[in-house]
């Protein structure tokens, strides 16, 4: 114990001396020099982190009004959508068919906000009540939207008529997207409450009309025609049809069937999802969604509201 106490003061004084010597040797400017270096480092850090944060602009460049990916029901126009989305994913959690996914790094400022890849899994409204809209805490998915029929996620169009089986006069027998496909849809006649895998539901039709059969708006429209309102609410009834097969006569007189999209289409993408062709013949146009007639109504309403 004595030794320790004897040694310690000596060591301390020597170390103190060396510190003093160093300070003298380096001069009084050392502190100022370190402060200057720290300042420069801080400036570099500010520039670096700010620069990196601005990299989020890259995927957006020139697309401020154009939608690069499909958004869930009720999404405001792209600029407002990205501004208001708090990136929490509550819409992901409530979706019964897991259609809603979150953007990643390559989507820039979209990072963490919701999108739908209709070909992989479309929104088939099997929640009936627009659960994602109800879940959204910021109104990115506008709370003005009450009914499925008023949604406008895009507008379907026959993109590749040459691939369309109906146009080619063909039927379809089998599993719509093959046995490896994991998407699900709700079939009212099989299970009112639970969506089932597409691969568990084979089709057999003489002229392929899968897009028309599966269309959630068409189903609701037909229910209403039969006097059975969806969820028992007459307000749920779509005012117009969304899609149907029509007999088209070409100039050379050849007649064939063709899916035609009507005004009632909400752009949910179920037709794109179920299309059994190698590539979807029918796809949803979502890039100019805000310029479409139905959506304009609720987007204007939402702007005036909140």
């Amino acid at each position: 114990m004595n030794q320790v106490t004897n040694d310690n003061p000596e060591q301390k004084t020597t170390s103190k001396n060396t510190i003093k010597k160093k300070q003298i040797a380096r001069g009084p400017g050392r502190r100022a020099q370190e402060a200057r270096r720290q300042f420069l480092r801080s400036v570099a850090l500010t520039a670096g982190i700010t620069g990196i944060s601005l990299a989020g602009f890259i995927p957006l460049k020139g697309h401020a009004d154009t939608r690069l990916i499909m958004r869930p029901p009720g999404a405001l126009d792209e600029k407002d959508y990205l501004a208001s989305c708090i990136k929490c994913g509550q819409c992901v959690q409530v979706c019964p068919v897991n259609a809603v996914k979150l953007d990643d790094l390559e989507d820039g400022f979209g990072l963490g906000s919701a999108y739908i890849n209709a070909r992989e899994q479309a929104c088939d409204f099997s929640c009936d009540g627009l659960q994602c809209v109800l879940a959204c805490p910021t109104g990115s998915l506008t709370h003005i939207l009450d009914y499925v029929k008023d949604t406008r996620m895009g507008l379907a169009k026959l993109d590749k008529p040459k691939l369309c089986l109906a146009v080619a006069g063909k039927g379809f027998k089998g599993i719509a997207r093959g046995s490896d496909y994991n998407g699900v849809l709700r079939y009212e006649k099989i299970d009112r409450w639970n969506p089932i895998p597409l691969k568990d539901h084979p089709y057999d039709v003489e002229i392929c009309d899968l897009c028309v059969q599966a269309c959630p708006i068409e189903q609701r429209y037909n229910q209403c025609q039969d006097g059975q309102y969806p969820s028992g609410d007459k307000n749920q009834c779509p005012p117009k049809r969304a899609i149907g097969l029509e007999l088209i006569e070409q100039r050379n007189g050849v007649k064939h069937m063709k899916p035609v999209v009507y005004d009632g289409c909400v752009g949910c993408g179920v037709c794109e999802m179920i299309c059994p062709a190698e590539q979807a013949a029918i796809v949803v146009d979502y890039d100019q969604v805000t310029k479409l007639p139905l959506s304009a109504e609720y987007i204007n309403k939402s702007k005036g509201h909140s």
């Binding site: 320790v4 106490t5 310690n8 720290q38 300042f39 480092r41 801080s42 850090l45 500010t46 982190i49 700010t50 990196i52 944060s53 601005l54 990299a55 989020g56 602009f57 957006l60 600029k79 407002d80 990205l82 501004a83 208001s84 989305c85 708090i86 990136k87 929490c88 994913g89 509550q90 992901v92 959690q93 409530v94 979150l102 990643d104 790094l105 390559e106 820039g108 400022f109 990072l111 963490g112 879940a135 805490p137 910021t138 109104g139 709370h143 909140s306």
Partner: protein, 349 residues
């Protein structure tokens, strides 16, 4: 100077100031005076520490890690098992249906969108009240998943630094305030929630709940930066979430308080602290009062409470907790003159 204002300015990056002798209360001056001749060896400190933490090594760290993992797990289980207790992610969520919104994320959204929705107001109010009561930056150390990862990689950093394999380049703490202003302005001017693009808190929280994303590369980069170049750089110098919750915590009743009476001023607390400037008062002749609450930048992580060999740092809930009476052990280590003084004092009272 007003303690709250001082605490606010330190949060923004001001360096703690050595108080003039006249600012120290007479009692404090007396105690410092008696401490002058005091010599404490390492062995004595360790003995003290063992005595105080006999049954509870890393007590607060254990509690904190458990809480942090539990909260984040609750998010995961709510989704994966569909128990719907805590839905969403750390940026915004619903606890049993009740809205909660991270204050910084909500701020970004409001600045970018320039509109406020009623749900968001409810969420902000809940979270504001919650963290006002619990201590503001308590969010950082008790909930933020990045904090936990950074805490672990900090160990690696210290290990490497001790062997000369890593450096700790420091930055001016005021740079965090600059970031706060930059990100607020960017949200306002660009109309995008720019900070959310690089927020490791949001990225990690979503990755934990919804599955891994590419954005984790950014988080990994930040952790590597901290391991090799700068200790706890993100939390110390960049994160605006820290400032937001720091502001909330200025008047919080939950805080760590410092009692200088038995302090040996050896600095164990400062060496483990994420924000050592709040512990500046533990340096000899820096505390103006016998008992003093730590500043708003304190994350209430409790590492200093665990590290302190003399029980000089303690959690306090203002108005609720009463300080436990000092154990007798410390008496024996006081200089004799002070022992006599305290005894006469006790006789008087």
């Amino acid at each position: 100077m007003n303690r709250s204002l001082e605490s606010f300015l330190q949060l923004l990056g001001r360096a703690p100031r050595k108080p003039a002798k006249a600012e120290l209360s007479p009692e404090v001056q007396k105690i410092y005076f008696y401490k002058k001749g005091e010599k404490v060896t390492k062995a004595q400190l360790e003995a003290l520490h063992d005595e105080h933490h006999k049954n509870s090594k890393n007590k607060w760290r254990k509690r904190r890690w458990f809480t942090l993992i539990f909260v984040n797990l609750l998010f995961v289980l709510s989704y994966s098992l569909d128990i719907q207790l805590l839905e969403g992610a750390l940026t915004a969520s619903r606890f049993m249906g009740f809205h909660m919104a991270d204050l910084n994320s909500a701020l970004q959204v409001m600045l970018a969108h320039k509109q406020v929705l009623i749900n968001l107001v409810i969420g902000i109010s809940t979270i504001f009240i919650l963290w006002f009561i619990l201590g503001g930056r308590t969010f950082c150390s008790w909930v933020c998943p990045y904090h936990l990862l950074a805490e672990w990689t900090e160990k690696l950093h210290l290990w490497l630094a001790a062997r000369g394999l890593a450096k700790n380049y420091t930055f001016h703490r005021g740079v965090r305030t600059v970031f706060y202003i930059i990100f607020a302005l960017l949200a306002l001017l660009t109309g995008y929630t720019v900070y959310e693009f690089i927020s490791p808190t949001g990225i990690l929280s979503r990755a934990i709940i919804y599955g891994p994303t590419l954005a984790l590369i950014w988080v990994a980069f930040l952790l590597l930066f901290e391991v090799f170049l700068s200790r706890r750089a993100w939390c110390r110098y960049v994160c605006p979430i820290g400032i937001t919750y720091g502001l909330v915590g200025i008047f919080s009743p939950v805080r760590v308080t410092y009692d200088m009476t038995d302090c040996k001023h050896e600095g164990d607390c400062r060496s483990v602290c994420l924000v050592p400037h709040v512990l500046d008062v533990t340096i000899k002749n820096r505390s103006t009062d016998v008992e003093i609450g730590l500043g708003a930048d304190c994350t209430r992580c409790g590492l200093c409470v665990d590290a302190c060999p003399t029980n000089s740092l303690n959690f306090e809930f203002k108005g609720l907790s009463h300080k436990a009476t000092k154990p007798e052990v410390e008496r024996s280590l006081m200089p004799e003159s002070r022992q006599q003084q305290t005894e006469t004092k006790e006789q008087q009272s």
